[in-house]
């Protein structure tokens, strides 16, 4: 698979805080992802992993702290423009059910990037080809399996040539036999040089694909490091307990 990742940049999250009322969801999160590297974020439910992703593309504005792309803060940028540079893939795919697969992928290209129809279609077809679904271009998302839908969602995000890709439990809603295909696309993307933050419960994927694994609990990164260190020699007791439960 050859995806254009020449656009990818480094990502930095610096001391990000966020509270919903009295509920302090993020309590000073730091995360550094080098250009072209993949960081996997693991941790128990409710630890703030998904919220962290949403503060990176500012679907949720952090209360304080900073988010850096290529070393530059993005918090003063226009959030809509920022989100074109940061691709996101959701647990529930979030494809638009009233449009064909092809239209799902071309929509932002036409409406936001203002590309002419034929150019948008060419890009979309190329992206669908990469995820092996160009044959489904005219189908509605509802006619696809969950795994196929998620691959379309990845193609849709990649079509905008993002600088960073965020994955929010991209395989958690899939039947077990469909997980592999999606993880395969994600692994290809990682080895192709895309900067990625992957929130996941797939420990095998984290171990094999990640350059960095960050363990989050109660709104902070308790431990981060290379996969081997995290999985073989975990130091924090919370991480050890977590790993003993999921492995």
């Amino acid at each position: 698979m050859s995806i254009d990742t020449t656009t990818s940049v480094s990502l930095g999250v610096r001391d990000v805080h966020l509270a919903f009322g009295a509920n302090r969801v993020l309590r000073g999160v730091d995360l550094t992802v080098a250009r072209g590297a993949t960081a996997c974020v693991i941790g128990p439910s409710g630890s703030g992993k998904s919220t962290l992703l949403r503060t990176i593309n500012r679907l949720i504005e952090p209360d304080r702290g900073d988010v850096l792309l290529d070393g530059r803060s993005v918090l003063a940028d226009d959030p809509d423009a920022l989100r074109q540079r940061v691709g996101m893939v959701f647990q529930q795919f979030n494809l638009f059910p009233h449009m064909s697969v092809l239209r799902n992928v071309t929509l932002a290209l036409r409406r936001i990037k203002k590309l002419p129809e034929d150019e948008a279609v060419a890009i979309a077809r190329a992206q669908l080809e990469l995820v092996g679904l160009v044959g489904k271009a005219d189908a509605r998302p509802g006619h696809l399996s969950g795994g196929q839908q998620q691959r379309v969602a990845i193609a849709r995000a990649l079509a905008l040539q993002p600088q960073v890709m965020l994955f929010d439990e991209a395989t958690s809603a899939l039947d077990p036999e469909l997980v592999k295909g999606v993880l395969g696309v994600m692994a290809d993307l990682a080895s192709g040089g895309m900067t990625m933050v992957v929130v996941t419960h797939e420990m095998g994927f984290a171990r094999q694909v990640a350059d960095t694994v960050a363990f989050m609990d109660r709104g902070v990164v308790l431990e981060a490091g290379e996969p081997a260190a995290i999985f073989e020699t975990p130091e924090h007791p919370r991480l050890r307990r977590f790993l003993s439960q999921v492995l």
């Binding site: 679907l59 809509d80 936001i112």
Partner: protein
Amino acid sequence: MDPLRTLWETFFDWESMREALPEMLTVGLPNTLILAVSAALLGSVLGMLLAIAGISRTRWLRWPARVYTDVFRGLPAAATILLIGVGLAPLGMQVWGPNPYPLGILALSLIAAAYIGEIFRSGIQSVEAAQLEGARALGFSWGEAMRVVIIPQGVRRVLPAWVNQLIALIKDSSLVYFLGLVASQRELFRIGQDYAATTGNESALLLAGLFYLALTVPLTHVVNAIDRRLRHGRPAAGPADDIDDTDLALPGAAGGNQR
């Protein structure tokens, strides 16, 4: 005279019907359609604006939409039509002369907008928040995401309820007769009523009723067909989504017909 026969002739006097038929076809039907279609178009546009105002994050849009809906849904249609059609007539006289149609259409539209606004709003609000998040994550602004992703899905879900409202409009268009119509402006009901008055039997009015049924019954079947399609036809967005469609369409449809 045989009372049964009298009853029969009151409703099924073919001669009276035949007499009324040409004018119903050439004057009444076109006029009813002009009133109903114009009010449907204007009412739907206004209804969409009300729906969007109703879900706005600014209370200065939400509250007026709420008050408008309460007022126009709460007043009897006849009262609204008289208030606007007669009350604004001096104003209308300046703009388009003594023609009661513009104000009649306006009044019908304002009433329909209150109902259609609620129908659209419930549909739009039924679209999962994840759809908005998905669109925002691609870089769409809130307005653009609503326009391209959320509203088309929401409206689709309430199409049956919307069509029901159009049926109500066809029937309510008869109320413009309050505003005083010259011969060429009479719609189905008024023509039926006029013939009934001159012939001394209700047959022409019954014929007008048949015209209304010829318009509304096919529409109710359109509603049912849409409803069936949403329910069973295409697995539009997975099973969960289909359940939403029907759940929402039904209460809206029921509400749409209540006056």
